[in-house]
């Protein structure tokens, strides 16, 4: 009898570790004594901190096992520098958002241990997405992530807005998943495989006989599904409502981790299996990039709810990130990765500010509630100012470096129109970022906000603003790692 072959599971060690620990934590949470409200809070606290520990360990494992490209489980799962880089970002985002959420959840009586568990599930899904090397594993990862996200969007179950956000997200998300599946089936039908390596080979083979319309249709549907996940125009409609309706820590999570994972997936799919068809998908990416930048810039001008504003801002940022993908070059992918690092830090910082906007135990979300912050909360206002100028891409802050590395490859690829529209859109978006600075510093105080006493929020604010200011002076570590990651994506 031949021995059953034991697959090499080492490359998937962080995922397996998280998966096992989720079960353990779930059991732990379920079997805790839940007789009083205090018990519930206690359990949630313990599970939260343990989840953070799990993610931190997973992060260490990810970095420790980083190496050359390895594909395992019959090429379903691949790991390379690109995967490591983006996984580190996702894990870091999840850790910080869990830490920032605890205080909010306790104050709003939603401190239940399921919250960190759901975040863990979502993170696991994202890591699967990043490492997917097959349309099947791609879909599995994506759905694991999405289903967890639908649930946490409506985590504040007594609030109709939150329930609405979850439902909306679910219905539209399911539609997008459907399109993605349809696209996948077309690609499978025309190439005969779901494996990324084999798809790439099949496309190369068939390109000798001219374009294959079936594959193009498949790509269009896959792009539509992915565009939904990264909330790019014209599949962005869910974003403002979901951002506004979800509890703020959930919004913070939505703004960073899933975006990064979905963009990473986007890059892997476009460069990997469909790398031979750059000329075909490039036009689509350019279109959604321009549309996202313009919508992100103009639609945000009239927003008064800061979470909604951040939703449009994130749509715009995705548009910029797509410029790098549209360039279709290694430098372009590197630019996107650098952009994602900076985007992650800016958003974590900004949401830390939003989480400290409280007045008498009530969260406030209007941007006019920030009036006079420059006088009443000096450090907070300074940090938010740094983030806003950075988001607008004003040097010497990190946001500018991100834009620089995105636009450079685009110019190199001859995409002048795209670059010019991009910089012009950034001027328009500067208006609403500046408006927040204006409200904080130029307007008079109407009603002051409470002082935040949470240590975690303070730390997040301090560290992220230091990062944003300091990156320009010492960009080398981020740059070299991103370059390595981008190179590994093209190596295969």
């Amino acid at each position: 009898m031949p021995m059953a072959q034991i697959p090499n599971w080492i490359p998937a060690a962080p995922e397996l570790f998280i998966a096992v620990m989720i079960m353990a934590l779930l059991m732990f949470g379920v079997f805790q004594k839940q007789s009083s409200a205090a018990d519930g809070i206690n359990t949630s606290r313990v599970v939260s901190y343990m989840s953070v520990a799990v993610l931190a360990l997973a992060l260490l494992i990810t970095v420790a096992f980083a190496g050359d490209r390895v594909a395992v489980f019959n090429n379903l799962f691949v790991t390379d520098s690109f995967a490591v880089f983006t996984k580190v970002l996702v894990l870091f985002a999840s850790i910080v958002t869990i830490l920032m959420a605890q205080g909010y959840l306790e104050r709003h009586k939603m401190a239940r241990f399921e919250y960190p568990i759901l975040i863990l599930f979502a993170t696991l899904g994202m890591m699967m997405m990043i490492s997917a090397n097959n349309l099947m594993s791609l879909y599995l990862g994506l759905e694991l992530q999405s289903l967890s996200l639908y649930v946490i969007a409506s985590f504040q179950r007594d609030d109709s807005r939150s329930a609405e956000a979850g439902l909306k997200y679910f219905v539209l998300g399911a539609l997008a998943s459907g399109m993605l599946l349809y696209g996948s089936s077309l690609v499978y039908g025309f190439t005969g495989s779901t494996d990324f390596f084999q798809i790439a080979a099949a496309i190369e083979l068939s390109s000798e006989h001219g374009l294959n319309i079936g594959i193009i249709f498949g790509i269009v549907f896959i792009l539509a599904g992915l565009a939904f996940k990264i909330s790019a125009v014209p599949f962005h409609m869910w974003t403002p409502d979901v951002y506004e309706g979800s509890p703020t820590p959930v919004t913070a999570f939505f703004a960073v981790a899933p975006k990064i994972a979905a963009l990473a997936l986007f890059m892997r799919v476009m460069v990997g299996p469909f790398g031979g068809l750059v000329a075909e998908w490039q036009q689509i990416v350019i279109f959604i990039s321009i549309a996202s930048m313009l919508l992100g810039a103009f639609a945000a001008l009239n927003q008064t709810n800061i979470k909604r504003l951040m939703a449009y801002s994130s749509i715009g940022h995705v548009g910029y990130a797509l410029i790098g993908i549209a360039a279709g070059s290694e430098a372009g992918i590197q630019g996107v990765l650098i952009y994602l690092v900076i985007y992650l830090v800016m958003n974590l910082g900004t949401f830390a500010c939003i989480l400290s906007m409280r007045r008498g135990d009530q969260m406030v979300e209007g941007i006019h509630d920030l009036a006079g912050l420059g006088k009443s909360h000096k450090p907070l206002a300074l940090a938010l100012t740094i983030f806003m100028f950075s988001m607008a891409g004003i040097p010497p802050l990190a946001g500018f470096i991100g834009k620089l590395y995105i636009f450079m490859p685009a110019i190199d690829a001859g995409l002048y129109t795209l670059a010019v529209i991009g910089v012009l859109a950034s001027v328009v978006s500067a208006v609403y970022y500046l408006r927040i600075v204006k409200i904080m510093y130029f307007d008079d105080v109407t009603e002051t906000l409470d002082r935040t006493s949470e240590k975690t929020i303070g730390w997040v604010l301090a560290l992220s603003s230091i990062f944003i200011v300091a990156l320009t002076f010492y960009p080398a570590p981020v740059m070299t790692n991103a370059a390595k990651a981008a190179a590994s994506l093209f190596a295969g």
Binding site: G374, F407, Y416, A419, V427, A430, V437, Y441, A483
Partner: protein, 505 residues
């Protein structure tokens, strides 16, 4: 390479001072204010002292960049932290380090609210300005050039007048719109030349088909900064709403960014396009000179009048630059320097009475000579310098520019000269309305003359204005070699494309 990185020290000293004020100024409200003021004046004073060796150690016989520093920064795109000065930028650096302490002194009493933040913003602003003039790498230049907007936006928006929000947004968005196009052009330049080093780019010859686009992109940025007609409208608003120190630094240094940019980029790097667009520049400059002078005549707000006069003076600068003659270019640089001193002084002069009466309306004044003789004297000196009276700094720049223009076309010189006449008209008219006449206004009866602090502000500016007017060589000697080198660069580049300077005209 010299041992002490003098330029980096100069650039980042104010930033260190700002950091110290941010973290060290503690205690009660009054303590913080006092410490911040002293911290800022010490920092900017030391920065000025550090800049003095530049003046003495600079080798006037060399057109090379001096005090050069170079460090790798973003090697992927060949971007390095590259600093250095030549005869053109050196004097602007000195101007900046001189004006900053003066501005801080000028806001000693007039800024009462959020003093700490004001001083920090101002020192950060100084860092960016010095960095901009020293930068020898495209992107380092761009970073400093655009970063200036952040402190300026805050200075106007927080400590400005009633319409400050409008003015701050207008300043920010106008300038940003211009400079992002320049950013795209810079990237395109990198991919054509393979370097972002400005010294190498000056020797690189860009394809003739590409030059007009690059030139226009840079023009979009610099024309807004200068400002040239018709994109000048942000300036009067910004000047009127800015606090005195903000106006001073805006007129004294920020307006020079545009003129400096033309000299540094447009002329040496895109010579063919420069020849091609020279007529456009002359037209816009002449319109600026005549039109804004007429507008200035009609103003009722003192600051607005001086703001419009600035636009007219900068019209001389742009016209002189694009004559591509030694006199024209040297005159343009000289005009920028003297305008930096004189218009700064004029805004300070407005600030003196504004601090006392809190009005900028010309009609609220009259007969000040009876109560403020010393003030009237100082005002007269700078008013005449602005008009271009021989013996003051303003004269040298104007006459050199006119000589340069005359070589290009006598008609141009004739049109530009009407600007000088109109300049005399609006400045003398302003002076008459404020200083002479009957002293009838109730609140002017008890107005006090210049105090010691104000004297200490004006004294260096008076000395400088007279020095620039009486012995211009000590400044012009710095420029000769660099300007000749610049013109040579243009000529060589043109010759490479089978054109010559004269044929271009």
């Amino acid at each position: 390479m010299n041992e002490i990185p003098l330029l980096s020290l100069l650039t980042f000293l104010p930033l260190i001072g700002a950091g110290m004020i941010l973290f060290l100024a503690r205690g009660s409200e009054a303590d913080i204010a006092r410490n911040s003021r002293w911290g800022a004046i010490w920092t900017s004073g030391i920065t000025f002292l550090v800049s003095i060796p530049l003046w003495f150690k600079f080798d006037q016989s060399s057109a090379k960049f001096q005090f050069v520093e170079k460090l790798e920064w973003m090697p992927q795109f060949g971007i390095s932290y590259h600093m250095g000065v030549d005869g053109i930028s050196l004097l602007f650096v000195m101007l900046t380090t001189l004006l900053t302490p003066i501005c801080i002194l000028a806001s000693w009493d007039s800024i009462k609210d959020r003093v700490k933040e004001f001083m920090i913003s101002f020192l950060i602003l100084e860092t960016f300005m010095i960095g901009m003039f020293c930068a020898l790498d495209l992107f380092v230049f761009y970073i400093f050039f655009e970063a200036v907007l952040i402190p300026m936006f805050i200075i106007i928006g927080v400590w400005g007048g009633p319409r400050r929000v409008y003015a701050a947004f207008k300043l920010f968005l106008y300038t940003l719109l211009g400079s992002v196009l320049m950013l795209v052009a810079m990237m395109a330049m990198y991919f054509d030349a393979g370097t972002t080093d400005m010294v190498q780019l000056m020797d690189h010859s860009f394809p003739v088909s590409m030059q007009p686009w690059l030139w226009l992109a840079f023009f979009a940025s610099f024309a807004v900064k200068v400002p040239m007609w018709p994109v000048h409208t942000w300036l009067p608003d910004a000047h009127v709403e800015a606090p005195t120190a903000g106006s001073v630094i805006l007129a004294g240094v920020l307006l020079k960014f545009g003129g400096y940019g033309f000299l540094r980029f447009s002329l040496p790097m895109f010579p063919d396009a420069t020849i091609q667009f020279a007529t456009l520049i002359f037209t816009l400059s002449i319109i600026a000179v005549i039109y804004t002078s007429l507008v200035a005549l009609a103003q009722t707000d003192m600051k607005k009048l001086i703001a419009y006069s600035s636009i007219a003076h900068m019209g001389f600068v742009t016209a002189g630059t694009f004559t591509l003659t030694t006199q024209g270019i040297e005159g343009a640089i000289y005009q920028m320097l003297s305008h930096g001193v004189v218009s700064a002084a004029l805004f300070l002069i407005v600030g003196v009475v504004y601090d006392r009466i809190h009005s900028r309306e010309i009609s609220d004044y009259g007969g000040l000579v009876y109560r403020m003789p010393a003030y009237s004297l100082v005002f007269m000196l700078f008013m005449l310098a602005s008009v271009g009276l021989p013996g003051t700094g303003g004269f040298v720049g104007e006459i050199l520019v006119l000589v340069g223009l005359f070589q290009v076309s006598p008609w141009l010189a004739a049109f530009a000269a009407t600007g000088v006449i109109l300049g005399a008209a609006y400045m003398l008219y302003l002076y008459r309305r404020i200083i002479f006449g009957q002293l009838t206004k109730e609140n002017l009866m008890k107005i006090k003359d210049l105090n010691a602090r104000e004297w200490s502000i004006f004294a260096p500016l008076i000395v400088l204005t007279l020095w620039m007017g009486i012995y211009p060589s000590s400044f012009l000697d710095f420029m000769h070699v660099s300007v000749d080198n610049l013109i040579n660069q243009v000529e060589t580049a043109l010759a490479a494309h089978g054109q010559s300077l004269l044929a271009g005209r």
